[in-house]
């Protein structure tokens, strides 16, 4: 009791919690789950874009896309490291992902069907991610907050890059513009779902807010995203696929139509178009690479033994 109160006092004083500091089990567990999910999202998120690297339509675009996917891998690394400071190993987290126990952002269970999706994913998915991540830069857990600062700078670059792909398509041929509109149609609602359930329906929100793991509510971030994104769509000359979208002068923001939460929960629970394939791909990569990891370990041991013997 006393410990919890003291801990909360540190949080309230905006002190950063560090790995060796005492912390409540629930705080640790929540962070492990959340950082793990976040790391997995970066790694699984490499796959839909990876699907287009070999088909990117110009040398410049190949390089940009490769660099972006590489950044995502790098983010995964920072985040796994941040989670490891809480006493879990990357291997454990990886196994949970492969067993379907750990989640990752549901958006990556939607397929990347056209080149325009490389634009839409950067613009909308990274855009939505940034809204969350900027807030996380001030998260109470130090290693997570610091990882987020590095991540955010790169993500906002990715978002601009995605938008620029959309802009090029929208200034292009009729087919290209249709491709862009189609990508917006397919990614708009899933992007809104990225912020999670409405505040009233969000399981872990209240405690996370109190612990300053989370600093803004799902709905608040979602609205911020919509308000930032709708004018960008207008500038592109694209139509946001929400007939109920309306400017509310009073609150100085948009009202949006109903989100299909059935779809959200279905995809979270594993029944999106790509869930099975995404996890299978990660599992295959891991399994096919087992002999390489074993060899690296065996070689390191041989080497250490040799040095010790000298």
């Amino acid at each position: 009791e006393e410990f919890l109160a003291a801990f909360q006092a540190r949080i309230d004083a905006e002190e950063k919690i560090e790995p060796t500091d005492p912390m409540p089990q629930g705080y640790r567990r929540t962070l492990i789950r959340q950082i793990g999910q976040h790391a997995h999202s970066e790694i699984v998120g490499m796959l839909p874009e990876g699907n287009w690297i070999t088909r990117a339509p110009s040398l410049k675009r190949i390089l940009a896309l490769l660099a972006k996917v590489q950044d995502e891998g790098g983010h995964g690394l920072y985040l796994y490291s941040a989670a490891e400071t809480l006493g879990v190993t990357r291997e454990q987290m990886t196994e949970e992902l492969h067993a379907g126990k750990a989640k990752y952002s549901s958006i990556f269970n939607y397929p990347a069907l056209s080149w325009a999706d490389m634009g839409a994913i950067g613009w909308l998915v990274d855009g939505a991610a940034i809204m969350n991540q900027v807030a996380l830069c001030r998260c109470s857990y130090g290693p997570y907050a610091r990882a987020m600062i590095r991540v955010c700078a790169e993500e906002s670059f990715h978002q601009r890059q995605g938008y620029e792909i959309m802009l090029t398509l929208c200034n292009g041929t009729k087919e290209q513009k249709e491709m862009a509109q189609d990508a917006l149609n397919r990614f708009w609602w899933p992007a809104l779902m990225m912020f999670g359930p409405h505040d009233g329906d969000s399981a872990h929100s209240e405690q996370s807010m109190k612990w300053k793991i989370k600093r803004f509510s799902n709905d608040a971030l979602r609205e911020k995203f919509i308000n930032a994104t709708v004018p960008q769509a207008e500038f592109l000359g694209l139509t946001v696929p929400d007939p109920d979208l309306e400017w509310n002068e009073e609150k100085g923001g948009y009202e949006h139509g109903d989100i299909n939460w059935d779809e959200f929960w279905r995809v979270v629970k594993g029944d999106g178009v790509m869930n099975r394939e995404r996890v299978q791909m990660r599992k295959d990569a891991w399994d096919n690479g087992a002999w390489v990891r074993e060899a690296a370990l065996a070689h390191a041991q041989k080497r250490a033994a040799k040095i010790a013997a000298e």
Partner: protein, 241 residues
């Protein structure tokens, strides 16, 4: 046109190998290698881009780097066969990279002194990248060759499988402002054999060296790679991306 041709050969080598490496993206044995392999791909495709851009300028027909990469057919691609070999397992991929970098690193080193300033400029950047590829891939050759029984067997199998393909690295169009490729061969063989010794790998008996890449005579795998890569450009002629 000797320079144009030599630039295209080099550019195609880099693009095709970079494309192969990019196929690994998201499928590597560990996250660190996902990053390393995309790094390799970035370096190679980046160099390819500079080489195509310069080739286009040398050609002087108003073609762009993307025209050269996306609108030539398989028979017009002049890469050596080594770089188009399928990824195979991690041992095959690392060996292919090791062979290539062991050739390119001294090549660019020599090209630093080229009287052609564009080439010297490309060489300056590429040389450092290749030194890194060489080191990273070489370390894996040793780790896998001297790792577990399985990894040693896989590494040796890769050596046998790629044995017909390394000689072609030393072939290709001569031109004044680029280093003589054939001259690099003795150093290449010495470097490779030194790493093989450390890795307990056997250097196989000589076999007939497959070539033909420099005449656009490829194996059947390149066509499929290009149909994947060029599809969008082909499906939307003249569009800007």
């Amino acid at each position: 046109m000797a320079l144009y041709r030599a630039l295209i050969e080099l550019a195609d080598d880099h693009l095709v190998l970079g494309h192969r490496l990019s196929e690994w993206c998201g499928h590597a044995p560990m996250l660190e290698e996902d990053l390393a392999l995309s790094n390799f791909a970035l370096d190679l495709i980046g160099t390819a881009r500079s080489l195509y851009a310069y080739a286009a300028e040398v050609e002087g027909k108003g073609r762009t780097e993307d025209d050269l990469a996306y609108l030539r057919s398989e028979r017009e691609y002049l890469n050596c066969l080594l770089v188009e070999r399928p990824n195979g397992d991690f041992a095959h991929t690392m060996l292919r990279e090791f062979y290539f970098a062991t050739f390119m690193e001294p090549f660019w080193q020599a090209a630093l002194a080229s009287s052609d300033k564009v080439i010297a400029g490309i060489a300056g950047k590429a040389m450092k990248e290749m030194a890194y590829h060489l080191r990273h891939a070489g370390e894996w050759i040793v780790r896998l060759g001297d790792g577990t029984e399985e990894s040693a067997a896989r590494m040796q199998a890769a050596v046998v499988d790629l044995h017909p393909y390394w000689e072609e690295l030393f072939s290709g169009g001569d031109c004044d402002v680029l280093p003589d490729r054939a001259a690099i061969r003795p150093a290449w063989e010495a470097s490779v054999k030194a790493v093989f010794a450390e890795a307990n790998l056997d250097w196989p008996e000589p076999v007939y060296g497959q070539n033909g890449g420099r005449d656009g005579m490829h194996s059947e795998v390149l066509g499929r790679m290009l149909s994947d890569m060029q599809y969008l450009q082909r499906a939307h002629p003249g569009a800007t991306w």
